[in-house]
Symmetry: C2
Subunit: 212 residues, 2 copies
Amino acid sequence: MPSERTVERLSLYRHLLSRALTEGAAHVHSHQLAGMAGATAAQVRHDVMSIGYSGTPTQGYEVEKLIESIGEFLDTPLSRNIALMGVGNLGRAILSDFAVRRPTLKIVAAFDVEPDRVNRVIHGCRCHSLEELQQIIWTQQIAIAIIAVPASEAQPIADTLCEAGICGMLNFAPVRLQVPQGVFVDDVNITIALEKVSYFAGRKALDRGRIG
Amino acid sequence: MPSERTVERLSLYRHLLSRALTEGAAHVHSHQLAGMAGATAAQVRHDVMSIGYSGTPTQGYEVEKLIESIGEFLDTPLSRNIALMGVGNLGRAILSDFAVRRPTLKIVAAFDVEPDRVNRVIHGCRCHSLEELQQIIWTQQIAIAIIAVPASEAQPIADTLCEAGICGMLNFAPVRLQVPQGVFVDDVNITIALEKVSYFAGRKALDRGRIG
DNA sequence: TAGATTGTTAATCGATTAACAATC
DNA sequence: TAGATTGTTAATCGATTAACAATC
């Protein structure tokens, strides 16, 4: 079982390699990929080894083959259909900015409680009422959900999703979701990320003697 | 120097404790806070110890005092004023959902290149043109920036920000930013987060025998 | 061939966990 | 007092880094 960091890096490698491929790069060395990804060459070699792909000492890694190997490793037999819960400002931003980027991950349905959002098509995605949730999750084979609802509604929504059989959630609400053992949850907390930046930026500025 | 994880958890503790305080809680035990934060009691004790606050065996931690201690530790002498770069869908979502939550962190200015956004007030925040950047960063004493521009514009924007003396950035663009030594950058990559959820959710589903 | 890069093992580093005396 | 919880040290765990023979 690879670590979360390794999975994150592999995902990033694939993204970078796809772009390198369109620019005509046929081979990359570990330190080149490391430079692009903000990792070390040793990490790249470790990550690549862990997915069972091998390069050659002189040429390095074949870009096309490596992309393929990462895909075989990362892409699970799970359906790649995603549900978006909440079509407020954040939900709409996710729909417009991130829905199209990866063909392997696709937001196929959105849900909201606001009557003026339900039954509308927003950024190319139809918004449904919560009553339709279970049926749509089943018929569309949705395995993953994005939680972009206010904090107070996040837990009830998560409960409904778990009952409907969802396998994983990406949670933007600043709440720790209680879910059954078999469900994977990852949190993106923008406020905490900002506080972290503020803290370490402040420490660095102090070290530089810029302030304090 | 505390780890990034410790800083993230401390930020979360403060958030949770503030809410507990308004609900009338005067004291918490390590395992209670751990339960709320999705951490272990040992982690809570370790984190609290590292900021120099002490509880008592019978009562646990005083909520009000602990919040204060976390603040003294996390809140740097750095100005808490933030600039938002890019007022597209994501930028607007950040303005509306996260700007008001923490009084210690405040988005005081937004910037965009689109003429129809410049000089407008969006979600209570004035949007400026990039020409005004340096002057506003200086006069408003802005130390932190949020990068919510398209990938292709992220690096030039980051360069300008570094020249203007910014200390830290929270980057939403799917690019690894090149910055000088003294600048702290943290990345939020929603696509990678989704791929991670998909991978681990798939693994869990396999283990449960739900698929495969 | 010579040299850079690979796969792979061992060493290091740091965070988490366990353990336990001190204490309210 | 008895008992749960604390601060603190030691043990564990896992990831990163270093090292190096194999190899194209």
